[in-house]
Amino acid sequence: MECKRARAALLESPRYRAEELPLPVRDHLSACPGCQREARILAAMGDALAARRQVHCPVDIAPWVALRAQERTPGRTWSVPTSPLRRRLALGAVLAVLLGVGLWHRPQQPVAVRPGNAAATRLAEAEVVDTYLEAYAEFRGTQAPGTKQGVGVVVSQLRSDQDQVGDPEAGQP
């Protein structure tokens, strides 16, 4: 009778632990070898079930496997428990790599002469130089006698030469 009541209390205890049972039941367990064996088996089963829940293993996996999984050292698992210092170091390393990659790919030329708008920049600059040449020719033409003819011709030819080329990069001698 004592054994029945002790084993019933053991089954109802959380995680089948004898330490958490009332004192009269524990006294019986310490005196009864059969109940002790039953308590050891139940405790092992409770540990295995708890381990299976912790590692989220399938239901049909052997309890001892689940226990082995639970016993694995932290360094041999995927999820490394990280300290705040480690996290900061990792973040710093990632940022350093990104910065390095960004600097490596940074264009050597300024934005204004990237291939995308280089043609537009060249055209604008050619227009500026063209206007300057006009003004230069006009001024020079006013200075010495006969110069208005010679210089005017030179600059006209330079301009038409420029017009004929079209593509600023296609200049051929």
């Binding site: 002469v113 006009e134 006013t142 200075q143 006969g146 003819q149 010679g150 030179v154 030819q157 420029q162």
Partner: protein, 317 residues
């Protein structure tokens, strides 16, 4: 004995007082050309030969001058036989002057400046467009400046032919009248466009502390480029000119200093028109130097050795 000595001294004194005959002649001939444009209107066909990069190119032009100071020239086809144009022909015409006359020094001042910096020599006589001409050469007193040979009409003083050599002595252009008519007729009534107004540049100007020997400041004009104001500072030695342009820089690529990283393959720093990238830059008819100084984009243009322009650019304050 005294009388003999006196007779010997007279010719020596005369030689000492009088300038060489060909110089005096050349100066008076050149002086006439300054007056010719004020006295005569004319129209004519010109043939021009350009030797910009070694290969001479020939083409024809129509040139119209309305006294005292309006000129127009435009290219024409070789088969165009019209002598009196009814209007500007096809192709881009060039009207001069396009701006006010403030940029021009008075004729006397220009002539005296030219005589200070250039030597005149009467080379002989010739014939251009069926007219008798005196050939006059203008060569620089200091190396590094252009030279000219002019064929000047004996009757009017109009320049009939003009050969221009750049500061390196390379032939740049040879422009000559093949036909000249001193009675332009209807062409004399051709309307000229009003010169555009040149606004004053709206920013503080940088000025060079170094100007090549013989050159002097003439004037400053405002220019508008793509809605942006620029300033044109003009310098002359009586024949040659240097133009200094400056404007406030706006998001432009930096101009590289050619001396920073050793010699460059491209002698022209910064983006330039294709013609400026061709051929031997030392024989280019016009030298162009570009710099970025503080917030300014500065461009110097002149027919003068590049180091002089660079020195001038470096002295801007």
């Amino acid at each position: 004995m005294t009388r003999r000595g006196f007779l010997l001294l007279v010719p020596l004194a005369l030689i000492g007082i009088q300038p060489p005959a060909h110089c005096a002649n050349a100066e008076s001939i050149l002086r006439r050309t300054y007056k010719a444009d004020r006295l005569y209107s004319y129209v004519g066909r010109q043939e021009a030969t350009l030797s910009l990069w070694g290969s001479p190119t020939k083409f024809q032009l129509m040139f119209l001058h309305q006294r005292p100071n309006r000129d127009m020239q435009w290219p024409i086809r070789p088969d165009d036989n019209r002598d009196h144009p009814a209007g500007p022909g096809p192709g881009p015409g060039r009207f001069m002057p396009r701006g006010p006359q403030g940029r021009r020094l008075p004729a006397e001042e220009r002539l005296s400046l030219l005589l200070r910096n250039y030597r005149l020599k009467r080379e002989g006589t010739g014939q251009v467009a069926g007219r008798k001409a005196t050939v006059l050469s203008i060569s620089p007193r200091r190396p590094g400046n252009p030279s000219q040979t002019l064929w000047i009409d004996d009757d009017t003083g109009i320049v009939l032919r003009n050969q221009l050599r750049n500061c390196f002595g390379a032939m740049v252009s040879d422009t000559a009248f093949v036909k000249l008519d001193l009675n332009p007729g209807p062409a004399n009534k051709l309307p000229f466009p009003d010169p555009p107004k040149r606004p004053e540049p709206g920013f503080l100007l940088l000025r060079p502390t170094y100007v090549p020997t013989g050159y002097q400041y003439v004037a400053t004009e405002g220019i508008e480029i793509r809605g942006q104001q620029a300033a044109h500072l003009m310098y002359t030695d009586g024949l040659n000119t240097i133009s200094l342009f400056q404007r406030i820089r706006k998001d432009e690529p930096p101009v590289d200093d050619p001396h920073r990283d050793g010699p460059r393959r491209d002698p022209h720093p910064g983006p330039l028109p294709p013609w400026a990238r061709r051929g031997d830059p030392h024989k280019a008819p016009i030298q162009i130097v570009k710099r970025h100084l503080e917030d300014r984009s500065v461009t110097l243009i002149g027919d003068i050795p590049r180091p002089e322009l660079e020195k001038m650019a470096g002295s801007l304050r």
